[in-house]
Amino acid sequence: MTDSDTRTCPSCGQLAPASATWCEACGHQLDSETKPECVACGEPAVEDDGYCHLCGHRQPGPRDHVETVDGPVSAVSDRGQRHHHNEDAVAVVSVDDGTAVLVVCDGVSSTPGSARISALAATTTAESLAAAATDGAPPEGMAVPREALEAAVEAAQAATGAASLDMEIDELNPPSTTLVAAVVRRQDRTVLVSVVWLGDSRAYWLDGDDVHLLTVDHEVNGALTRWVGVDAVHHAPQVAHHEFPRNDRADVVVCSDGMWRYFAPELGEPAGELVARLKEEGLGGLDLVRAMVDHANDRGGHDNISVAHWAPDSSDGVRGTTVGPGSDRSTAVEPSEDGAKEAQAKEAQAKEAGS
């Protein structure tokens, strides 16, 4: 915006000769340290408090765009185009060569403090499941036992509950978040995916056009019916165990609704087609996840966008492994009777899912 022989005073916005030591308009010392450039107006005028001193634009915060990579497992969480803050959080762990944990939490934006709660829930869940995944051989057909999945959510509830105690929160509307975690374990002939979730964040098994949604949204008419938060300590997590034949084309995707809403054909592109197309373009790992988030942002980015991804059979020399005809032995495990009733009762006080 400025010619090479002039510069803009970062204090008042008036043009001054490049050689000037002081701004003639306001007396600001011009050759003091250069301030960072504003992302909105491009002028080097960003103050220590994060606002541009010329156009007033708030500069992006550290949570506005987060990228997490652990080995071949990648995740991106992005503010999107329409929301003021990013309340989503992601966590991924590459436990060993054939095992990974992927977690996405979608903090509810209408409840103050949710950004902190979602981050805490994601990391607590990921740590707990990574520990469980290394804790001996799991029962057959499960990446980790059901108890481990429930214990991880319990740990997340406890950690967020403790954090809520020393936060300034709206008592009637305490901070809350969705939670979805997938533990993926590659075996000789199959891949096991154990999923635990509360709310409307999702997990997918993608094999080209063959799309398996591994979760069921906990929402009624746009309102969440289960979530994580101090007002949801009795919400029972739902658990499901899936087993798929090994396939070098397959991807596990865990994401928030800011991503999956653009899987609807009328809004974006179905998940299988999108991922297959991006992989054909040569993208993989973090680049693939970034491209998925860009896709959502290009379609309007109406919500925070979070995606975690692992291609369990493509990254470490098992590419091209012949996969037998083995069946997709998915078994969804509903929570106990009491838990289901509890969840139904809570639907009466369900909060809006428009996070």
């Binding site: 008042c12 916005g13 606002y51 541009c52 001193h53 010329l54 634009h57 708030r58 329409r82 003021h84």
Partner: protein, 428 residues
Amino acid sequence: MTDFSAQVFQNEFLPAGADTVDAVVTVSASAGASAGGPQRGDAVEIIVIDTSGSMQEEGGRKIRAAIEATQAAIDTIDDGCHFAIVGGTAGAYMIYPNENLAVADERTRHEAKQAVSRVRAQGGTAIGSWLRAAAYLAAQRPGAIAHALLLTDGKNQNEKPAELDARIAECVGRFQCDARGLGVDWNISELRKVASALLGTVDIIPRPEDMHDEFTRLTEAAMGKQVGSVALRLWTPKGSICEFVKQVAPSLEDLTRLGTAVNPLTSDYPLGAWAGDEDRDYHIRVRIPVGSVGDERLAARIMLVIDDAEQPAALVRAIWTDDERLSTRINREVAHYTGQAELAGAIAEGLAAREAGDGQTATVKLGRAVQLAHESGNDDTVRLLQKVVEVDDAASGTVRLRRDVDRSDEMALDVRSTRTVRVNRKAD
């Protein structure tokens, strides 16, 4: 030391495409804990009393009351304070001391009271010349907290309006002035102009016997000022327009035109002298370039300038959202003071219509004023309105104009229409 702080009340969320940001800023002064007692700078107190011929009317009752009230005021001037008593007619003259300022002590206060007792009322009224005298006296103590109390009982007969305006302009920033009109024969707009420009108050003193308490109260308040010069420094982003800066409590005072540019994005608005323990509210409206949904922009950065030292105070923000639950929230403070401004406007329009013989408009406007004053708990204004209208139902604003209204009641309503009540922050 007096500590200053500011707090912002606003709804920072704007719907897509909106460009107007409203905020109420509460500025608070508090005496710091370190102070062993008031550590005030130099102070100047100037009392200007009208000694024109009209003060001799009512058998000399007015001038006798003015003398007695001025003597009482002199008794409240602190030791060490510089002071002077000025008489006003078609010109200004020194009552005490003979020239310049006296330093208050037992002896000078006694001499001043003696001098005041010898005042005789005769001659005209030229308020501009009185102000010029006060400005000259205040200039004898540069940097002091200078305050004048100005009393008149009549209109500014011996000066053209333009002359008064020019004299007022010369006084801006030199001293603060509380202007008082005695009886009902003075002109509200003349004294309001003086008080607004010189950051003071204007009021009616209906009866001579009310002067004693009012003079004492005003002089005591002046003695309580700890900080002479405070300014609200307002930064707004490039491309923005500051629509207004108004004091909204304790009374309405539009400061917009008093702003002076510090640089193209920043202006200073004078807040005058402050006591060691005082709160005032300001309503700021800024129009800024529209951002995209999800963007946050600073709409204003508020700083306080205390005796030429700038301190950061508060931020006014704008966040564009398509969440209607957020953008339609009504901020209580902004709504309250918008209502108080509407109340003052309804009173002014109602009284003007009544004056012009338009009873229908007067009834509607004063009825609305009763309703607004009632809703906001502005009981003093309700009482003033009741002397001009018969209130059938305050909640709905149903009123009838009274036939025989005391002129002083009408003037009191007019001159006090800008007094506000503060929003009750404990209500919920």
